[in-house]
């Protein structure tokens, strides 16, 4: 039960920050989500995002910031194994699920359904 609570709170806080940015700044959703991704990447580089995931589970995994974290982690771990070139080869290792799933499901939906406006 503790898992639910921490996930709820952490995820909620991240989203609230996002909502405040939507409402109080002229930034577009694209700007804000990109910012979160960059934030996740930097926190990932500092090793802090993984600690957040351990603490909050899905609450830290699902926001788009975790995408940035996964990209950074992928790059870093591969670089640790194979040297600097690993930054290029390892980047999409961990994020493959997200991107592939989005493309596949997006494509299927486009084939089967029409926008209703």
């Amino acid at each position: 039960m503790g898992n639910y609570l921490t996930a709820f709170i952490v995820g909620g806080v991240i989203c609230i920050i996002g909502q405040l940015l939507f409402d109080l700044t002229p930034l577009t959703p694209g700007h804000i989500l990109t910012g979160f991704t960059i934030g996740g990447g930097i926190l990932g580089g500092l090793g802090l995002y993984d600690r957040l995931i351990d603490f909050a589970g899905a609450g830290a995994l699902l926001p788009i910031s975790s995408f940035g974290n996964s990209l950074a982690k992928g790059a870093m771990s591969e670089a640790a194994r194979t040297g600097v070139i690993g930054v290029l080869t390892g980047m999409f290792e961990l994020t493959s699920t997200g991107i592939t799933a989005a493309i596949i499901f997006g494509f299927i939906m486009a084939l089967c359904f029409k926008p209703k406006g």
């Binding site: 991704t37 699902l62 930054v87 980047m91 799933a101």
Partner: protein, 108 residues
């Protein structure tokens, strides 16, 4: 505030699979894509705001909605080429950041 409500649902889905975050992400993406296809995602989003846009559901919705909308302009020239028009900057800047972070960690 509405973000808390939406996230609750995802939490109950995700937590049992905490060992494997990947199926969680894939499932959530599927749900978001389906809601987009059903035409209700935008209605929920009007209420939920960042609560549904900030998690990967927002990512899935932007990809799916672009894919669906531009199907009329062809599968290759519409769906295929426009799919990432909205989400592209997330990927671009995510990669750029990770590249810099990765380089720094590899060189220090």
């Amino acid at each position: 505030m509405f973000g808390q409500l939406i996230l609750n649902i995802y939490v109950s889905l995700g937590v049992p699979q905490q060992e494997a975050g990947n199926p969680t992400v894939a499932t959530v993406i599927f749900i978001a894509a389906s809601l987009t296809a059903a035409g209700v995602f935008d209605n929920i989003a009007q209420l939920a705001g960042a609560g549904i846009a900030v998690p990967v559901t927002g990512f899935a919705n932007s990809v799916t909605s672009m894919a669906m909308e531009f199907r009329r302009e062809g599968l290759v020239t519409g769906t295929g080429s426009k799919m990432f028009a909205l989400a592209g900057s997330i990927i671009v800047f995510g990669v750029v950041t990770a590249f810099v972070v990765g380089l720094i960690s590899a060189l220090i």
